[in-house]
Symmetry: C2
Subunit: 419 residues, 2 copies
């Protein structure tokens, strides 16, 4: 097994097999790109300045001296592979370059707990898909017709919609309860006030690296090569606002007030060992979506809720990325088939990921059946939807033999609506 | 009446009363911000470099030495007012600074026909509203129920959805026909191919300048101060793709393959003389949308179609911005009421603008009643929807006494789908 001169716990999300990408604020207030290993972040600016990214693609590109990853992402897969090989090599137990240079080590490694991570990517556009069959069935059963829970198009194309990019925030950002217009069933006229049905949505999202030109498309069999990596996504939702506003043009304010993402981008290469089979597609899709050897990734996902009266987070959902009906390659092929151009740093979220069991549903809406079956927490409190002071913590990892490739967490705490 | 030392035709869209903002590519291949007067563009980079923006807000800000307007827009209304006053003053008939400096004039003025205009703003997020009552009624009647053409929420809030920012292109960009998945009524299974119901949508859009912090909102009575200016928008649409994909999350690929905007941003100050009354709102909206003295702008809008067999564009629609039911201030107050943050350079389009008469509908869908009543063009050709080779030209202006404040045009030609 690969081993670094940096000691890494078997339970750590960040062994040498991971090497995710992020960004942090230095003591001088500058933004530096970074990676992570064990308890440390790795300052990529410092490594780049030392000329250590000296492979044929990255040499003299200064790709890690930018304040966002967008340029590096735009360089495409050969650059990503080279950067990963360079980094792994520099961290190997028997490589002296970093290991035996105390001054350089001091510049490059900082305790992860001591630094403030920031958004590593400028996200241009944000698409949110709806690719979990169980989630679409749960929602369709509650709001439309249990006998026809899936709409006719659902198995023919990965349904999705455009989200709001400006309100994507990094894990740890406090979230104010949104206000908005709703129409309770027992009133004639709509009313205004803080949302009464505040929810999380457990999702994952991929970020595109190299894109396509307007008018052209990315074929499904090439789509994975355009995907740089994945993050955890909490697509906060206001169910009562959504219900009143969403016809006929889809969710708008219900989803645009905040979307939280985890700080580390886990690369496709780090996830490669965790490929697994997909759910069978019972309708053969049209050619542009047809991917004969569909695989996905085995990524364990958990959601924890911590109220102000609890000392510890309590797990309320446990599911897996592999349950999604549509693959990322199918999503990206669909997104671009009309000629829509994607750019480096665009975010494509999966939609809520719900598994087959009742404790594997990825939203309060589903876990509590629209609030009719509140959760009971260890503190004795009940929860139909999220209340002020509640913190939602999502975590994800893939389990290797003796190591984990993890996403860390995406967290967010609900604060009262601003007056 | 204000007069410049530059001669301006009474029919010109760009007299000294307008002074819009744009950007162009210099002979050296650099992007410079610019304004326009008569037949000329005004190089703002050159004026800024000469230190001529020397008012208290803009002095030493180098706001016009950037390659986009975003920084200038972020400075807020006092900066916009000051820049306009400076520009107008420099152009006055009796001001010698520019008028009598032949060298400087040569640097600053270029023939508009000789330069290539480029996108002057980096657009972060793009929202598309649905604020024309006539349009919503026309569409609702065709696709849902003529007796209940408006959905219950329509008069209570400005319905809108998120659009795709990456595919916003400047006027003059050729547009490839999109391909996609559709399900004709006479088939069991969806099919794939070039859209057969290609349409334009006549819209206007406003660009926000200074924004708001996430979690906070922009009150309706302050909203106009956050609006920098307006452009013409052609929100190209594929009706057949839309029909099959749009439930339950709204239009997605049907609209994301191209949106064309006019190159000049017309400021709110230039439009100020053209305020006029709004359509009455027959439901008093909730307080956050209530704007006691609602006004809008009297802007004449025309759509022309030029097929390959015609020598001249033929007008197919004539309408007015003033028909919109919801004002821009109400749209922006709604967009932010949940705490969604807007940023400098975001685009907010009105939705298709249709007037009360049958020749004032802003889309082929409405003009031809979903293709059942094709238009007959002077060449004798019929048109249900747009065909390859068709060019759509939209134009807009406000009529003053002896002058126009115009938007110029937004044009786009349909090319065949890429194989």
């Amino acid at each position: 097994m690969l081993k670094s001169f940096i000691e890494v716990d078997a339970d750590s999300h960040f062994p040498i097999q991971n090497l995710p990408y992020g960004a942090y604020e230095t003591e001088q207030g500058e933004i530096h790109l970074c990676s992570a290993i064990g308890e440390y972040i790795i300052d990529l600016f410092a490594l780049d300045e030392e000329g250590l990214f000296d492979g044929p693609v990255l040499n003299n590109q200064y790709a890690f001296q930018d304040s966002t990853l967008n340029y590096f992402m735009s360089l495409g897969k050969s650059a990503w592979t080279e950067a990963r090989e360079t980094l792994q090599s520099l961290l190997y137990a028997n490589n002296e370059t970093l290991r035996d240079d105390a001054l350089l080590r001091q510049r490059v490694f900082k305790k992860r707990d001591d630094v403030r991570l920031v958004m590593p990517v400028q996200i241009g556009d944000y698409t949110d898909f709806y690719s979990s069959e169980q989630h679409a069935r749960n929602v369709g059963s509650m709001f439309r017709d249990p006998d026809n829970a899936l709409l006719p198009n659902w198995k023919h194309l990965p349904v999705g919609y455009h989200g709001r990019a400006s309100s994507i925030v990094l894990s740890g950002t406090d979230i104010h309860r949104p206000k908005g217009q709703t129409k309770p069933d027992n009133t004639d006229q709509p009313i205004f006030g803080p949302s009464q049905k505040l929810d999380f949505e457990l999702e994952m999202g991929f970020l595109t690296g190299s894109g396509n030109k307007l008018g052209h498309n990315i074929p499904v069999q090439e789509a994975e090569d355009h995907i740089f990596g994945l993050v955890l996504v909490n697509d906060w939702s206001a169910r009562d606002i959504q219900k009143w506003e969403y016809q006929p043009l889809g969710p708008f304010l219900a989803k645009s007030w905040a979307t939280s993402v985890s700080p580390w981008i886990i690369t496709m290469e780090a996830l490669e060992p965790f490929r697994t089979v997909c759910p069978q597609q019972d309708h053969k899709p049209l050619d542009y979506l047809n991917q004969p050897d569909r695989t996905t990734f085995d990524i364990q996902l958990d959601v924890f809720l911590k109220t102000e009266n609890q000392s510890k987070p309590h797990r309320i959902c446990s599911t897996n990325f592999k349950h999604l009906y549509w693959t990322m390659a199918q999503q990206l092929a669909h997104q671009t088939v009309s000629g829509c151009n994607v750019k480096p740093g665009d975010l494509y979220a999966s939609g809520t990921i719900s598994g087959p069991e009742a404790d594997s549903y990825g939203s309060m809406l589903e876990l509590t059946r629209n609030g009719t079956h509140p959760l009971t927490l260890p503190s004795g409190e009940g929860r139909s939807f999220l209340e002020d002071g509640d913190e939602v913590i999502m975590s994800g990892f893939a389990q290797g033999e003796g190591f984990k490739v993890g996403f860390g967490e995406v967290t967010g705490k609900i604060l009262p609506a601003i007056k």
